[in-house]
Every structure is written in C-alpha cells, then in structure tokens.
C-alpha cells in the first residue's frame, strides 16, 4: 500500500488504482482533492449550504462506489464534475429552488437557519476596508452569477473558475460544443450587463 507522501504526489489515476486495490488512504485523498471544487460548484448551483453539503456528499459516494467504471484514460476531474453536475441538476429539478438569495436558502424561514445556509466569503491578510470592499465585490459577483440560468452558470464556472476547455465542459454537461459556446457567450454578456455599471 502507498505511503502518505506517495499518495499526495501521485496522479489521480494512480490514486484511483490504489483505491481499487483497497487503500482507504487513497479514497480519502480523492475526497480531499476534490471536496472544495465540487462543493463550490454545487453550492453556486443550489445556493443552500446544507443542501450543497448533502449533494456534494452524494456526489462522492456515487463516484467512489462506481470507481470500477472509471476509465483511467479520461480526466478524473471531468468524470467527478459530471457526476456533481448531474446530481445538482437532478436536485434542482426536484426542488425547483429559487437560486437568487445570498442571504441563505429561500426555504430558510428562521434567522438561525438563514445564517447556517448563507455563503461565507473570507479574504485573509487585508485591511478592514479592503476586506469590506472585497466582500462587497465578492457579494456582487456571487449575486450576478446567481441570476444566470443554471446551465449558463455551470458553463461559466467550469470555464472561468475551474479552467476547463469547451470540449471538456461539453462532456461534463452532455452538451454539444456549439451549445457550450453559446451558453458561455450569453453568460458573459449577462454578467457584463449586470456587473459593469456597479464595478467599473
């Protein structure tokens, strides 16, 4: 079985192989590597922290249980993002969540629950004024992203936050290349329209 040092420097494919051979450490490493990007994407889809945690957990459980079906000549990150996207879309279809509130989930009826589901944005190493401005900027950007249609949102986040190529986004979202390009183009136009007056 691999050592912790070996695991932390190994490729995703190697870690998957060790996991399939029965290494618990390898399973944990896969969760550690992808919990933040997967949770971030799902949170920005459903806008509810508790729900996002449940869906991220569901994503990992599905992925790790189906690890045998993963083919190592594909990117592991694309594979797990595809599962995350499908899980979030299914959830959105089931619940028809209102995705606009940054003050917490729309179904959070008490202030305590609203606090629990609200987005936490932190900026370390800045002065209080800079931190306030950064928070305000972050808030505006999050709000603008939240107004986009879910499919536009996923496309633009995968492109500009995760840095995926158009082809990969198409594979993750099961969309033709042309549709991905259209969605990203429209999402950018909408974001510019919303954010340009307030930020510039």
């Amino acid at each position: 079985m691999p050592s912790p040092n070996e695991i932390s420097t190994a490729t995703d494919q190697e870690v998957v192989q060790w996991a399939l051979e029965g290494s618990e450490r390898a399973y944990r490493e896969l969760v550690r590597r992808y919990q933040r990007p997967i949770f971030s994407l799902i949170f920005r889809m459903v806008r509810d922290r508790e729900r996002a945690e449940d869906l991220a957990q569901e994503t990992f459980v599905k992925a790790l249980k189906a690890l045998k079906t993963y083919r190592p000549n594909y990117k592991f990150s694309s594979w797990i993002f595809k599962i995350a996207n499908n899980t979030a879309i299914d959830s959105l279809r089931r619940k028809e969540l209102d995705t606009l509130s940054l003050d917490g989930a729309p179904d959070a009826v008490t202030s305590e629950r609203q606090q629990g589901t609200a987005l936490q944005v932190s900026h370390d190493g800045e002065s209080p004024l800079e931190e306030l401005e950064a928070r305000e900027l972050g808030f505006q950007i999050e709000q603008a992203v939240a107004t986009l249609r879910p499919e536009y949102r996923t496309c633009i986040l995968l492109r500009h936050v995760e840095g995926y190529a158009y082809e990969e986004i198409g594979e993750i979202m099961n969309l033709p290349l042309g549709t991905v390009k259209t969605y990203i183009h429209r999402a950018r136009s909408e974001l510019r329209e919303i954010l340009s007056p307030s930020i510039d």
């Binding site: 919990q35 971030s40 603008a144 500009h160 936050v161 190529a165 082809e167």
Partner: protein, 175 residues
C-alpha cells in the same frame, strides 16, 4: 467522454474582464467532518493476495524487459519440460517397473508424457508469471507454446530413439 487531449485556449485571453470577476470568487469549503461522512458510506474492497502481490511487483518489468522476461519464461518452460521428456523416456522407463508398465504401448507413452509436460509447464510458469506480474493471457499463451514445443520434442525424441542403433528405451519398455 473523450480522452484528455483537448486543446486549451485560456479563459483569460477570451474575456479578461469576466475572467477577472470570476477569479475573485473564493473556493468554498464544506463543513468539518465532510470526509468522514463520505467515508462512512464507502465499503473499501478487500484486495486478494494475488492482487497485493501484483501491486507490490508492478513496475518491475515493463516494455522490452517485459517481453524479454516472457521469452525467458517460455524458454525455461520448454527446457524444463524437455528435460522431463528425457528423464521419463530414457531413464524412467529403464529404472521404474511401474513406469515401464505405463509406457508399454508407445502411443500411450506419448500421451502420458504429454500430461507430464503440461503439468510441468504450468507449474514452472505460474509462479514466475505471478512474481513478474505477467498477465494470465500471456501465461496461457506461453504455457501452450511451451507444451506444443515439448510435445514436438517428445515426438522427435521418440522417432530418434526408435531408429537409432536398434536399441532404445521404448523398445526396451515393450520387451
């Protein structure tokens, strides 16, 4: 999904303004205990001893070295089974009464020898194959090749013994 050889045009160059805005977004972290919560739902597969051994030895031999190892294994199996042919046919028939009875008929002797060759090939190749992490298909192919070569050797040997100097082990056994 396609293999991961797609081309990349950077998002920055496409739309620097939108990219700047979105790169301001922080990566969010799930609550503490997330990893354990996921692991609670996962059953870790228990690897077989063979898998463990293969895993431990993986990477020992690759590419050309792997082919050389396979060739060496075939040669080893062929030589070892041929030596069995020699021992059983020449010395075995002369020294063992039981074996003499078994090989009383020349045709039957060849079949009996064939079984010995097969067992010999398999027993000599299997541990080597496991240690060198060679796939079972290759083992089967190599073992089959070893057995075929050994049987041909046996037939050749029988022919040679029958027609050389008028006295040979099979005639001795038949007597």
């Amino acid at each position: 999904m396609k293999p991961n050889n797609v081309t990349h045009v950077t998002p920055e160059s496409e739309d620097p303004l939108v990219h700047k805005w979105l790169s301001e977004l922080p990566q969010l972290e799930p609550g503490s205990g997330f990893e354990d919560a996921v692991m609670a739902h996962i059953t870790i597969p228990k690897p077989s001893r063979l898998k463990k051994l293969q895993s431990a030895t993986s990477g020992w031999l690759t590419g050309r070295r792997r082919r050389l190892a396979l060739a060496a294994t075939v040669t080893y199996a062929t030589l070892s089974t041929t030596s069995v042919v020699l021992l059983t046919t020449v010395f075995g028939a002369q020294t063992s009464a039981a074996w003499s009875a078994l090989v009383a008929q020349p045709t039957s002797a060849i079949w009996e020898s064939g079984i010995v060759f097969l067992l010999s090939a398999v027993h000599s190749m299997a541990p080597i194959a496991v240690i060198w992490n060679i796939g079972f298909t290759e083992v089967a192919l190599a073992a089959s090749a070893g057995v075929v070569v050994s049987i041909l050797c046996a037939l050749g040997l029988k022919h040679m013994l029958r027609y050389s100097n008028g006295s040979n082990a099979l005639d001795y056994a038949n007597a």
